[in-house]
């Protein structure tokens, strides 16, 4: 059966050119970058070249890039590293309710260590308001972290405006740009942020490589101590092939960015336009300020995991923010923060497109998905409104 991969927010396939760039570092060039002889210096040079390419993608200086193992490490590093570096100036940090677990759970860890954390509310479309940021700032605030774009609902945040507010009070701003980098323009200078997290596997690069941009001159306490790799800011033998792959993927993303957006947006829009015609299917996130390949809905009266499974049986691979589809058995906190009722959140489904998807793939999706909806609604006790009467409290939202 042909497979239709619509889960690029989970991870992307590796681009064959990226793999090719990595291969020598699995073979002849296996040296440790710290070694002073030839093998080592070749590996070292390869890392520095990759650093330049990653820096170019986000318009930073190479020295401002610290490689990590993934996006989660970059996020943990940013929050804890700045909190520790700044704790003598204040113990308050601000994060939004749109954040990935790696931000939220780092924030919770900091709460246990004596920090106070403000979790910013968001509106129905998932926007963090710059005004809410202004109100949340106290004299103790040392860090604000707001995602650049949400992998769950696709909304792109008004980060520039948020940074402006933060900078009035000279507060450090971090952004989780894991979902955006390589997919839309990300320019640290234009955004004005001090720290920014990225992950290679989100733009056709390898798993095992992420990075934290740290503005020049900013002190940050390491998360992983040891040797002098990454200028002493992140220890451990470097994952040279993955870093090289991240560089190559960054180079390609920079070159192809506009093309990729131009390709994905019409596909995305066709899905959105067609499926929002369906009864009781609601787009989540914003219509315009949206990741180019990102489509997310809540489908009333039915549950996300059941949709995923029936779609998978048709060869269609997608994601859901429903409780039952998450291995933690919790509905997406992002959807709940946006005010989506718990029952409706159970009907979450996310299709995220990538460069491997064709117009025919979309035809197929648009044919199969409504059939899946109908089938599950036939089984659902709520579809006929019975839920209003009893037991279905969680699913009584009406349009």
């Amino acid at each position: 059966m042909k497979k239709y991969y619509f889960d690029h927010v989970a991870t992307n396939p590796l681009h064959p050119d990226v793999l090719e760039a990595m291969m020598p570092y699995f073979k002849e060039e296996f040296g440790n970058p710290l070694s002073i002889y030839e093998y080592g210096s070749k590996a070292k040079n390869a890392i520095e070249e990759a650093r330049e390419k990653v820096a170019a993608l986000i318009n930073s200086k190479p020295a401002e890039i610290i490689f990590t193992a993934n996006g989660a490490e970059a996020n943990n590093f940013a929050l804890r590293g700045i909190a520790l570096a700044k704790q003598n100036e204040g113990k308050h940090i601000i994060v939004s309710r749109m954040e990935h677990h790696s931000i939220l759970n780092s924030a919770r860890f900091l709460e246990k260590s004596g920090f106070v954390v403000t979790y910013l509310p968001v509106d129905k479309k998932g926007f963090v308001s710059p005004d809410a940021v202004r109100k949340a700032i106290t004299k103790e605030t040392v860090l604000i972290s707001v995602t650049h774009g949400s992998s769950e609902v696709g909304t792109i945040e008004p980060l520039k405006e948020i940074v402006k507010v933060a900078k009035e009070k000279k507060i450090i701003v971090h952004t989780d740009a894991v979902a955006t980098t390589g997919n839309i323009p990300v320019d640290v200078k234009d955004l004005g942020v001090d720290l920014l997290s990225i992950a290679a596997h989100q733009f056709y690069g390898p798993k095992g490589a992420g990075a934290l941009y740290v503005k020049q001159g900013m002190r940050i306490v390491p998360l992983i101590y040891g040797g002098i790799q990454e200028s002493g800011r992140r220890a451990g033998t470097e994952n040279v092939p993955a870093i090289v792959g991240m560089g190559k993927a960054a180079e390609m993303a920079k070159a192809e960015l506009q093309m990729r957006m131009d390709y994905l947006k019409p596909l995305r829009d066709r899905i959105i336009n067609t499926l929002t015609e369906e009864k009781n299917v609601f787009l989540t996130g914003d219509r315009e300020n949206r990741l180019p390949g990102h489509v997310s809905f809540c489908v009333e009266f039915i549950e996300g995991e059941a949709m995923l499974l029936l779609l998978a049986a048709k060869g269609i691979f997608s994601a859901s923010g429903s409780a039952c589809s998450s291995k933690a058995l919790k509905a997406s906190p992002v959807l709940l923060a946006m005010g989506v009722p718990a029952g409706l959140a159970q009907g979450s489904i996310v299709f995220s497109l990538g460069m491997g998807n064709t117009s025919e793939d979309i035809d197929y999706l648009l044919k199969e998905f409504p059939a899946v909806i109908s089938r599950l609604r036939e089984i659902s006790p709520f579809a006929q409104g019975w839920g209003d009467k009893d037991g279905g409290e969680s699913c009584t939202v009406k349009k």
Binding site: E303, A306, L309, A323, L329, G392
Partner: protein
């Protein structure tokens, strides 16, 4: 993740539907994940002769509902009440541990349906 039996009952659920002339209806919901099952039974001579379900929930919730309605048919009320969550899960070839708690509501909904039948008889 799921056994073949679960996938079979999920993708081809048995006994889906409402029952116009049900003798008992039971509804059970899991407040955490929102899974909700409605089971309708038809009883003749203390024996369940037909059962139908409607379920809002994940794959295992649907499979459990389907399996329970299959298992219960032809059983006396006492036999039906003795059906445990574990028995349903076993009949499905097992459920992932987290689903045992969260989506395995079939036996509970069935019990409620039988209680509903009994309370209607009393009237």
């Amino acid at each position: 993740m799921y056994s073949e039996k679960v996938m079979d009952h999920f993708t081809n659920p048995r006994n889906v539907g409402d029952m116009e002339d049900a003798d008992g209806v039971g509804i059970e919901g899991n407040p955490t994940c929102g899974d909700t099952m409605k089971i309708s039974i038809k009883v003749v001579d203390n024996r369940i002769v037909d059962a139908k379900f409607k379920t809002f929930g994940c794959g295992s919730a649907i499979a459990v509902s389907s399996m329970v309605t299959e298992m219960v048919k032809g059983k006396t009320l006492e036999e039906a009440l003795a059906i445990s969550k574990e028995a349903v899960a076993d009949a499905l070839g097992g459920l992932p541990p987290q689903k045992m708690h969260c989506s395995n509501l079939g036996a509970d909904a069935l019990k409620k349906a039988i209680e509903d039948y009994k309370s209607r008889q009393k009237k």
